[in-house]
C-alpha cells in the first residue's frame, strides 16, 4: 500500500466562505481561493474525513467512475503540494516509532 501523508505547514491558515475556501500562506503572502470541487475536498479533509471517504464523495459529486475520481482527487492534492499549501509530513523521531 502506497500512502503519502501531507500536512499544512504552520504558515498556512484558511477560512471557509460561502462560495470558496481562502487559503493563506503567511510565509509568502500568497492567497489561494479554492472553489468548486477543490473547496469541497479541502473542507472534507478539514473535517477529518479519511481519503477513502473523500474519494467516495468526489465520485458522487462528479458522478465519475472510481478510477477517474481518484485521478482527479490525487491530481488536486498534488496541485496543493506544488503550491506549497501541503507538504510531506515529517517522519516522527526514532524513539516515537
Amino acid at each position: 500500500m502506497s500512502v503519502d501523508i501531507f500536512v499544512t505547514p504552520p504558515s498556512i491558515s484558511w477560512c471557509q466562505d460561502s462560495a470558496r475556501v481562502i487559503v493563506i500562506d503567511e510565509s509568502t503572502g500568497q492567497a489561494v481561493s479554492l472553489s468548486g470541487l477543490d473547496a469541497a475536498v479541502w473542507t472534507w479533509f478539514s473535517l477529518s474525513y479519511a481519503y477513502q471517504d473523500v474519494l467516495a464523495f468526489v465520485q458522487a459529486y462528479l458522478n465519475l467512475p472510481a478510477e477517474e475520481a481518484r485521478r482527479q482527487l490525487n491530481q488536486g492534492i498534488d496541485g496543493w503540494v506544488e503550491l506549497g499549501l501541503l507538504s510531506p509530513e515529517a517522519a516522527p523521531p526514532e524513539e516515537d516509532r
Partner: protein, 350 residues
C-alpha cells in the same frame, strides 16, 4: 492619519477597550515600557508627523490627558502648527481640560467616548459627583467636544448622548464605532450575528438625533449590509457620514512601536524608524495584511459585489482574521489502489 499614544495609563476599565489587552499584556510581561511618552520622544513623533505631512496631532491612550505634562505636549504640537485631536473618556484632569479650553475650536477637537454616563467604574450606578465632573469638563470644552460611542452590545442605548450634547453645548455629531475583537485578545466586542440588529437600531437613533440637529458619523469596521438600501438612503438624507472601511490607522506607542491599529497590535507592528513616513508604514501594513483582505467578517463577503469592487471592506480585519483556522490539515493520499488496479488490468490482458 496617525494616532500618537502618549499615555498607557487609563482611569477606566471598559470591557470592550481595544487597547486594554495590548497595555495589560505588556504589564503582565513586566516590560520596561514607560507609562507616558517622554518629551524628547514626543518631539520625534512630531518630526514623524512633519515628515509625513500630517497636519493633525492625534492624542491617544490609555487616557491621554493623564500624561503629567499633557499641556506641554499640546503646546509643542501647536508650536508646529498641528491641529489637536484628543481621544478621551472625558474624565480628564483640570489642567488638561484648561489646556484644551484655551485653544480655538478650529484647531482643536476632542472625541469623548462615552458608553454610559457613569463610566465603566460605575456598574453599580454612577456617583453623582463623578457625573458632575464629567459634565463640567464637557461644558468647558463645548463645541470642541464631539461624543463618541463604541457599540459592544446589540441593545446598547445611545439616546442619552443627544441630551448630553444639548445640555453641554457640544458639537452636534456623534461618532459611532463598533467594538471590535482584539486579535488574540479578551475584550468584549459586538458579535457579527448582531450587526443587522445594530444597523436597524442605529437608523432609529439617527432619526431621533436628527430631530435635534445631530448627525451620526460611522467609524471604521462597519459593513454596508448592516443597512438596507432604504436605510442607507435615509441615513444619507439625515446627513450621516457613512463609510465601510478598514485601513491601517497607524497607532504609535509610547515605546516607538507602530501598530497597524490597536486590534491588530500583537501581530502587525514595527519599530518606528527615524526616516519612516506614515505612507511607508501604511503601505507595508497593507502588503502584510493583503491576503486576509480577500475575506470579510461574513462568509458571504468574498463573493459580495461591494467587497469585490472595494466599496465595502468587509468589516474589521481583526474580526475577519478570527475566522481563519490554522489547525493542521492532514491528507492521506492513497496511490496504491490505482497501482493495484493497473496491475490487475495488466494481468487480465495477458
Amino acid at each position: 492619519m496617525t494616532n500618537l499614544i502618549v499615555s498607557r495609563r487609563c482611569n477606566q476599565q471598559c470591557s470592550y477597550c481595544f487597547a486594554g489587552d495590548s497595555l495589560a499584556s505588556d504589564r503582565q510581561r513586566q516590560d520596561s515600557t514607560p507609562d507616558y511618552i517622554s518629551i524628547p520622544d514626543f518631539e520625534q513623533r512630531l518630526d514623524f508627523l512633519d515628515r509625513s505631512q500630517i497636519a493633525q496631532a492625534r492624542f491617544l491612550g490609555g487616557e491621554p490627558t493623564l500624561h503629567p505634562h499633557f499641556a506641554e505636549l499640546v503646546r509643542r504640537a501647536r508650536a508646529r502648527d498641528k491641529t489637536i485631536v484628543v481621544f478621551s473618556n472625558g474624565w480628564m484632569p483640570k489642567a488638561a481640560a484648561a489646556a484644551l479650553e484655551d485653544l480655538p475650536a478650529s484647531r482643536c477637537g476632542v472625541i469623548v467616548n462615552i458608553t454610559t454616563m457613569g463610566g465603566s467604574a460605575g456598574r453599580d450606578g454612577p456617583a453623582p459627583a463623578s457625573l458632575q465632573l464629567r459634565k463640567s469638563v464637557l461644558k468647558r470644552l463645548g463645541i470642541k467636544a464631539q461624543l463618541g460611542c463604541n457599540i459592544h452590545r446589540p441593545d446598547q442605548d445611545l439616546d442619552f448622548l443627544t441630551g448630553l450634547i444639548i445640555e453641554c453645548g457640544l458639537k452636534r455629531a456623534v461618532r459611532v464605532g463598533i467594538a471590535q475583537p482584539v486579535l488574540g485578545g479578551t475584550n468584549a466586542f459586538l458579535l457579527t450575528k448582531d450587526y443587522h440588529k445594530v444597523g436597524e437600531r442605529l437608523v432609529q437613533f439617527a432619526v431621533r438625533a436628527a430631530r435635534e440637529g445631530i448627525k451620526i458619523e460611522l467609524d471604521c469596521g462597519f459593513v454596508r449590509c448592516m443597512f438596507s438600501e432604504e436605510a442607507r438612503a435615509h441615513l444619507l438624507e439625515l446627513g450621516a457620514d457613512l463609510g465601510w472601511r478598514c485601513n491601517p490607522i497607524i497607532d504609535i506607542d509610547v515605546d516607538g512601536r507602530a501598530y497597524h491599529c490597536f486590534p491588530l497590535a500583537e501581530k502587525y507592528w514595527t519599530d518606528l524608524g527615524l526616516e519612516d513616513t506614515a505612507s511607508d508604514l501604511r503601505e507595508a501594513f497593507m502588503r502584510q495584511t493583503e491576503p486576509y483582505r480577500q475575506a470579510g467578517i461574513f462568509k458571504e463577503c468574498s463573493s459580495c459585489p461591494y467587497k469585490i469592487d472595494q466599496s465595502c471592506s468587509g468589516g474589521c480585519l481583526s474580526n475577519t482574521m478570527r475566522r481563519f483556522s490554522n489547525q493542521p490539515l492532514r491528507v492521506h493520499l492513497d496511490r496504491s489502489t490505482a497501482f493495484h488496479h493497473t496491475n490487475r488490468s495488466s494481468a487480465t490482458s495477458q
